[in-house]
């Protein structure tokens, strides 16, 4: 074989192997859609489970996941934004900066079940919030912080340095510069990061296990201090804890969870693409 032939062969082989990555994703999605699409109906989506969850729908779990996703956004947003602004705009080479960066790296590495236990200890018991939407949202919010902070920091750093220089040269303060000439340009990127973080949070089971999720609670929560069902935990329960559970309901639940998570990711992707196209510098 000549060098050129080897070259071509290498390219083909590498491309084929890379294409393999797509297969599991497509396969998983198709498999879940194929097995679950049959039970999807108005009734399945918008009624409560009946007969020990072997019949009926997933409405309380679906709504619970929506509440938790919003709660997570509210819990994570201020902390993440403030931290990202600190890191991108103010951080000098000092001890605080090193601690913050170290903390973020470590947060990212903590297994999700440990977040669950931490949430139980810190929010449910110590802060006495009980097993509640608040406690679950705080736990999930904490877990999404690293993702949101790093995407937000990237978005801030992508704003040209020149905008800051010009703004300062006109007599604006540091904060006015950030507020008027940096944040507006970074906002779409920051929001993308938050949505990606939420996509992960919406699908997590372990952090909500001890902090908010109810095993079987057909009534809807009446306040943020109530428990709620949630899709990932509901899926876990009906797949492992309920004997004689119809498979189709399990796949239907999995399909809805998948759609929730994928649609969040899709929104983030669309937003990012639009932002890149609109960017004028």
């Amino acid at each position: 074989m000549t060098r050129q032939q080897t070259n071509r062969l290498a390219k083909i082989a590498i491309s084929l192997v890379a294409a393999l990555v797509v297969l599991p994703t497509v396969f998983v999605i198709l498999y879940v859609v194929y097995n679950g699409i049959g039970v999807i109906s108005w009734e399945f989506l918008f009624t409560a489970p009946r007969s020990g969850m072997r019949e009926g729908g997933i409405w309380p779990a679906l709504l619970g996941t929506v509440f938790l996703t919003f709660g997570t956004a509210i819990a994570a947003f201020p902390l993440a934004i403030a931290t990202a602004i600190y890191l991108a705009e103010y951080a000098g080479d000092n001890r605080l900066t090193r601690w913050v960066r170290l903390a973020i790296v470590n947060l990212a590495g903590i297994p999700s079940i440990v977040y669950g236990l931490f949430g139980l200890g810190a929010f449910v018991l110590f802060l006495n919030l009980g097993t509640s939407i608040v406690a679950g949202s705080l736990t999930l919010g904490l877990m999404t912080l690293p993702v949101v902070i790093s995407t937000a920091e990237e978005a801030l750093l992508a704003v040209p340095q020149e905008f800051r220089t010009v703004s300062l040269s006109l007599g604006a303060t540091r904060w006015q510069t950030i507020r008027h000439q940096v944040l507006p340009h970074a906002l779409p990127g920051i929001i993308t990061g938050i949505i990606l973080g939420l996509g992960r949070a919406a699908g997590e089971t372990a952090p909500i296990l001890f902090t908010v999720a109810a095993f079987y609670l057909p009534e809807l929560p009446r306040s943020i201090f109530d428990q709620t069902m949630a899709l990932p935990y509901h899926l876990y329960v009906i797949s492992t804890q309920v004997p004689g559970m119809p498979l189709s309901l399990q796949y239907g639940t999995a399909l809805v969870l998948l759609l929730v998570v994928l649609s969040l990711t899709l929104v983030a992707t669309v937003l990012r693409t639009r932002m890149r196209r609109r960017r004028q510098w």
Partner: protein
Amino acid sequence: MSSDVLDKRELNTPETGGPKSKIEVNDFNFFYGTFQALYDLTLPIYERHITALIGPSGCGKSTFLRALNRMNDTVIGARAEGEVLLNGQDIYAPNVDVTDLRQRVGMVFQRPNPFPQSIYDNVAFGPRVLGRPKARDLAEIVESSLADAALWDEVKDRLDASALTLNPGQQQRLCIARTLAVRPEVILMDEPCSALDPVATLHVEDLMRRLSAQYTIVIVTHNMQQAARASDYTGFFWLGKLVEYRRTPELFATPKEALTEAYISGRQG
């Protein structure tokens, strides 16, 4: 070097009936970490005149310019020694409010760099953050600033259009208008024409000449014809030192220092 550089007679100081100085720089040294960028600078900047700073890349002229409104403060490890007196007040004194200083000493940059916002908002940004005006006053400031920057007639019908729709020459005049809008006393220009074509360059030079009736202007330029055409005083920098500083016609016609002569005749640099 210093006594030759600052020949009072040739500089036409107030004692000899010349202009009065707006900025007095005394024994000024500047460092980036351990690197010394400027050495023992002592010079006056004259009020309502144009002072050009020339010299090869890396000679410190831009650093000096940015020292005059403390834009170097944002560089980590930057440190200044000595005095820079603006109207007799040391701008490096501990009680100085840098935002106030930068309002008084405005800056125009090398590349036209309007914000990606409307023409109006670009000019209005400074007055807005300085917490001044009501809407009607603001509109007046925007109009007068654009007029002073010789841009009003070209943009008055599309103030809401994005500043990025202007051509580079217009963008640079917009940046000048944006600087004028905060009513500075001194305008620093860092190679303001290096990204412009010759026609736009002449436009900006005309504008500088007119603005010098009201403002003290300091311009850094790589273009010696520009310094010769458009300035009243010229300082030649070399490796962080001020080699020669005189009235522009004299510096170009009869340079005293061999280095200056070599540089302006293109044999050095």
